[in-house]
C-alpha cells in the first residue's frame, strides 16, 4: 500500500501525483460539516459564524461522539464519517464560498459528481476506512479548537474545528481527474454480477423498479 502524510491546508503540491487507493494521514486543521451546516449557510443564506477560509480547506462529513461537560469543555471520544452522497447537491456552491480542497467522508460520490463539483474546484475526496475507525481517528484529534453553532444545530450537526495529527488512515477516493476508486472497484465486481444469479429463478412478484418500465405492473 502506498502511504502519504499530508499537511493541511492542502496545497497544489501535496495533491500532485496523489493516486487512487493511496493511504493518507493528515496533519493540521479540519472542520466538520454536513446537512445542517450546508442548509443553514447555502439554503437559508445565514452568514457563517466565522470566515470559512480561516478554518482551513478540509471539510469532514462527520459528527463526533461528543458531549459538553458542565464546565463548558468538551468530551470527545470517537470520530467517524457519515455517508457523503447525500450532500453532493450542495458542493459546487460550498467549494465556491469555502475554498475547500478536500472533502473527507464515507462512501464517496459518483464520478459525475467529482467531475461536476470537485475537478473545477481543484478538490479531492478522501474516504475514511472500514467504516468505523472511530477510535483511531479520535486518537488523531489533538485539540478541539472551536465549536460553532452548537446550540443552533446540536452536537451532531455543529461545526467542530479540530486540530489533528497523524489523523487517518484515509484512502484517496477521487483524484484530480475525477476518477473514483469505488467506481473502479465496482466495475471489476460488476463483470461477475449477472453470473451470480445464474440458475436462480426470478420471484413471482417483482418489486417496483425491477420491471423495465415504471408503467408496468409488478405481477
Amino acid at each position: 500500500m502506498k502511504t502519504k502524510h499530508i499537511e493541511l491546508p492542502l496545497t497544489d503540491k501535496s495533491l500532485k501525483g496523489l493516486e487512487l487507493g493511496t493511504a493518507v494521514y493528515l496533519q493540521g486543521s479540519v472542520y466538520t460539516g454536513r446537512e445542517g451546516l450546508y442548509k443553514r449557510v447555502l439554503d437559508q443564506g445565514v452568514e457563517p459564524p466565522v470566515p470559512l477560509q480561516s478554518l482551513g480547506n478540509a471539510n469532514f462529513h462527520c459528527s463526533p461522539a461528543a458531549s459538553v461537560n458542565e464546565d463548558g469543555t468538551y468530551n470527545l471520544g470517537a470520530v467517524t464519517a457519515t455517508a457523503s452522497f447525500r450532500f453532493a447537491r450542495w458542493l459546487s456552491q460550498w467549494f465556491e464560498i469555502s475554498g475547500c480542497r478536500v472533502i473527507i467522508g464515507k462512501g464517496g460520490m459518483t464520478e459525475d459528481d467529482y467531475r461536476t463539483h470537485f475537478v473545477p474546484n481543484g478538490a479531492i475526496y478522501l474516504s475514511t476506512v472500514g467504516y468505523g475507525t472511530g477510535a483511531l481517528l479520535g486518537r488523531g484529534i489533538k485539540r478541539i479548537r472551536d465549536v460553532y453553532w452548537l446550540e443552533e444545530l446540536g452536537i451532531a450537526q455543529a461545526m467542530w474545528v479540530l486540530d489533528v495529527e497523524n489523523f487517518g488512515p484515509f484512502l484517496v477516493e477521487s483524484d484530480m481527474l475525477g476518477n473514483s476508486l469505488f467506481e473502479r472497484e465496482g466495475r471489476i465486481i460488476n463483470e461477475n454480477v449477472d453470473s451470480l444469479y445464474d440458475g436462480l429463478r426470478q420471484p413471482a412478484l417483482k418489486r417496483y423498479g425491477e420491471t423495465t418500465s415504471r408503467s408496468d405492473e409488478v405481477v
Binding site: A65, G130, G132, L136, G138, P169, G186, L196, L200, L205
Partner: protein, 323 residues
C-alpha cells in the same frame, strides 16, 4: 428482588462495553478473514479495523462514532422480581441511556423524525427501544445492549412459497450488492435473515438474528443451519470485500431465524451487523449477582418453541383444576 440501582449501573456498563469492546467472537471471525483475504485494499481495511479495536480498548473510547441507535433487549426469568416492577425497569433503562450518552459519550443520534428535535440524550418517543422475551425456570433478568447504525444494510421483501430457496438466495444477493457497494453496510458483517412471521416479525427476527447471535453459532434446525452456511459462502463469493472493494470478505457469519407465517407467503428480511458489531450482556440475579458476557443467548429453545405446551411450565388453569 433485583434492585433498580443495580440495574441502572449494569445497564450503563453494558452500553459502555458495547461501545468500546468488540466481542471476541466477531474479532476472531474478522482475524480469520484477514488471513484469507488476498486483495491488498480489502486486507488493508480489515487490518485498520483490527487496529481500531485495539485503540478503542486502550483509550477507552467508542470504536465507532456512529454509536447507532442504542437500545435494549431484556430477557426476563419467569420467577424474576424487579424492584418497583417493570415500569420502574423501563424508567431505569431510559436513565441509563441518557447517562451513557453523556458519560461514554455516545453520539446523541436520536431525533424526532419530522421536527428533528434532539434531546441530546438518545431518549425520546419509543427510544431506546426495549424488547422483551421470557424464560421459564429462572429468577434472573438478562439485559442486552446493542448499538447498531441505522441507515444501510437492511431490506425487506415479500416472497411467496413458490419462489423457494431460489427466491431467498436472489434476495440475499440483492441486499449484499445493494448495500455492499461503497461499503455502505460496513461489511464484513454478521448477516441476519428473518424468514416468515408477519411482515414486522420477519423484520424483527432478522435484526435479532444479526445482533443477538454470535459468530459460529448455528440454528439448531439442520436444514436452516445448512442454508446459513450456504448463504455465507455465497456472500463471500460475490467478489466483493470491505468498502465494496474487490475481495472476498463480505459475510463473517449468516444467521437465519424463522417464524410460522401466512400459508400464502414467505416474507424475508436481511440485516447487516457491521464492522463495529456492538453488543454486551449482563445477568442480574435476585441476590445482587452481576455477570457480564457478550453472547446474548436470546434464541433459547423456549423462544424457538413450536408447540402449545412447554415442559415444566404448569398452566395455572390445570393447577386450579387439580386443587
Amino acid at each position: 428482588m433485583i434492585k433498580q440501582d443495580a440495574i441502572e449501573e449494569a445497564a450503563l456498563e453494558i452500553m459502555r462495553r458495547a461501545a468500546i469492546v468488540i466481542p471476541d467472537d466477531y474479532k476472531s471471525g474478522i482475524k480469520a478473514m484477514v488471513k484469507e483475504e488476498e486483495n491488498e485494499l480489502s486486507r488493508f481495511v480489515l487490518e485498520a479495523m483490527c487496529e481500531n479495536w485495539d485503540v478503542a480498548e486502550e483509550d477507552r473510547r467508542a470504536m465507532c462514532a456512529d454509536t447507532g441507535l442504542p437500545r435494549y433487549f431484556v430477557k426476563i426469568g419467569n420467577e424474576a422480581q424487579v424492584e418497583g416492577g417493570f415500569v420502574a425497569l423501563e424508567r431505569t433503562l431510559r436513565w441509563a441511556t441518557a447517562r451513557a450518552t453523556q458519560e461514554i459519550p455516545l453520539r446523541p443520534n436520536r431525533v424526532h423524525p419530522l421536527s428533528r428535535i434532539d434531546h441530546n440524550n438518545n431518549v425520546g418517543i419509543l427510544a431506546p427501544e426495549i424488547e422483551y422475551t421470557f424464560e421459564p425456570d429462572a429468577d434472573w433478568i438478562d439485559i442486552i445492549s446493542v448499538h447498531k447504525g441505522g441507515l444501510f444494510g437492511s431490506d425487506y421483501r415479500m416472497l411467496f412459497p413458490g419462489d423457494g430457496i431460489d427466491g431467498i438466495k436472489r434476495f440475499f444477493l440483492d441486499v449484499m450488492l445493494e448495500f455492499g457497494r461503497r461499503g455502505l453496510a460496513c461489511q464484513p458483517a454478521i448477516v441476519g435473515v428473518g424468514l416468515g412471521g408477519s411482515k414486522d416479525t420477519a423484520m424483527s427476527i432478522g435484526k435479532q438474528a444479526a445482533c443477538l447471535r454470535v459468530v459460529g453459532d448455528r440454528n439448531p434446525d439442520p436444514e436452516i443451519a445448512a442454508l446459513e452456511q450456504e448463504l455465507m459462502v455465497m456472500g463471500n463469493n460475490i467478489g466483493m470485500g470491505p468498502m465494496g472493494f474487490v475481495g472476498k470478505s463480505m459475510v463473517v457469519d449468516c444467521h437465519i431465524e424463522v417464524a410460522y407465517t401466512h400459508t400464502g407467503g414467505m416474507p424475508m428480511s436481511v440485516h447487516s451487523f457491521c464492522l463495529s458489531s456492538r453488543r454486551a450482556v449482563v445477568r442480574l440475579g435476585p441476590g445482587g449477582e452481576i455477570e457480564y458476557r457478550t453472547d446474548p443467548e436470546w434464541f433459547t429453545p423456549y423462544r424457538r418453541r413450536d408447540t402449545v405446551e412447554w415442559e415444566g411450565v404448569v398452566p395455572p388453569l390445570d393447577k386450579a383444576v387439580a386443587q
